[in-house]
Symmetry: C2
Subunit: 195 residues, 2 copies
């Protein structure tokens, strides 16, 4: 692995991928989840969990599975995955969520704002934000449909690789929600682009 770029705890980053390039998402210390949002290069197509669930016929994604756009085109294919459990159900954490669920009264870093900022730095208007792919986030679905957020299965150094199936704008956020990250302090993530 050559020189992965760090996403500091609670921060986000934007980057562009050309079709065929790959991105490795790394959990340096383990137990940390992140959000990945993908738009087509011009923002005309956006990541869609609903199309991904429909065309893949499954709710849990891992190696070999495709993330689809809201206009039914493949955006990313998971080509390697050391973790094996990710979430694609939950909306990104937001300042409103921290107010309601954590009792926060001041500003609090959140994936919604991180992803919006990253997309705007790439020249794209993000709102209204679709559901991001919450990599390493571990959500269990009970038989009656109740959802339980469990600690990520990722251990220190674990990673997954996704291949771009079209030219993409990508936003990443190291999730600041302790509830999604095993309950303790939240940490950084890292990534590298494989060209």
């Amino acid at each position: 692995m050559v020189n992965p770029e760090v996403i500091p705890a609670g921060h986000g980053v934007g980057l562009r991928l050309r079709r065929g390039e790959q991105i490795r998402l790394i959990d340096p210390h383990g137990g940390q989840s992140g959000d990945l949002l993908a738009f087509s290069h011009d923002g005309a197509e956006r990541l869609s969990n609903g199309c991904t669930f429909d065309y893949g016929g499954k709710i849990y994604l891992s190696t070999g599975d495709v993330l689809w756009s809201d206009r039914s085109n493949p955006m990313l294919t998971i080509v390697a995955d050391a973790v094996g459990r990710h979430d694609f159900l939950y909306s990104s954490c937001s300042i409103e969520m921290y107010r309601m669920q954590y009792g926060v009264t001041e500003y609090y870093a959140n994936c919604y704002d991180n992803l919006c900022s990253a997309m705007r730095e790439l020249g794209l208007e993000p709102a209204p934000l679709p559901t991001a792919f919450n990599f390493f986030m571990n959500v269990e679905i009970a038989a009656d449909g109740r959802l339980i957020i469990a600690p990520p299965k990722s251990r220190a150094g674990d990673s997954m690789i996704l291949r771009a199936e079209m030219d993409l704008a990508i936003a990443l956020s190291a999730c600041p929600a302790s509830g999604c990250n095993g309950g303790g302090a939240t940490g950084p993530l890292a990534f590298e682009v494989i060209r």
Copy 2:
């Protein structure tokens, strides 16, 4: 029930609800699913399955459950439900979906276009379309996350009632996908507004 309005098979309709008003969604003949999309009156907030899953802590919604907006405000509360099983995972059927999954080559009526047209008739720009609440659509989630679209549990005359928690623009579509409606010919839906 006073004079419910029919949504013909494969068609859509738009309407406005004021806060506190209720809408009854009716399956006149049974086994038919539909799509409901809700925007705030000015289009600034939009229905969000991701926020609904997060704040409700469940994937299956029924009486007492709230449908939330993408800015974390309650939009609709389910106040009665004779059916008890609805989907909030699948993106609306689209012309691209009919081409890929049904082999359609000509135009085919679809919920995506129906919902977009209905919102535009109300003066709102719908794209990019969020995931609609797929009422009466019956999706089973296997333990490994595989998704199975089963026939709706709705029988002739069954209905559900939702109460508006803010002033809303609503789009409805009687889903033309035979796969979501037990495999046979798709039928009409009906609704009435309770003021």
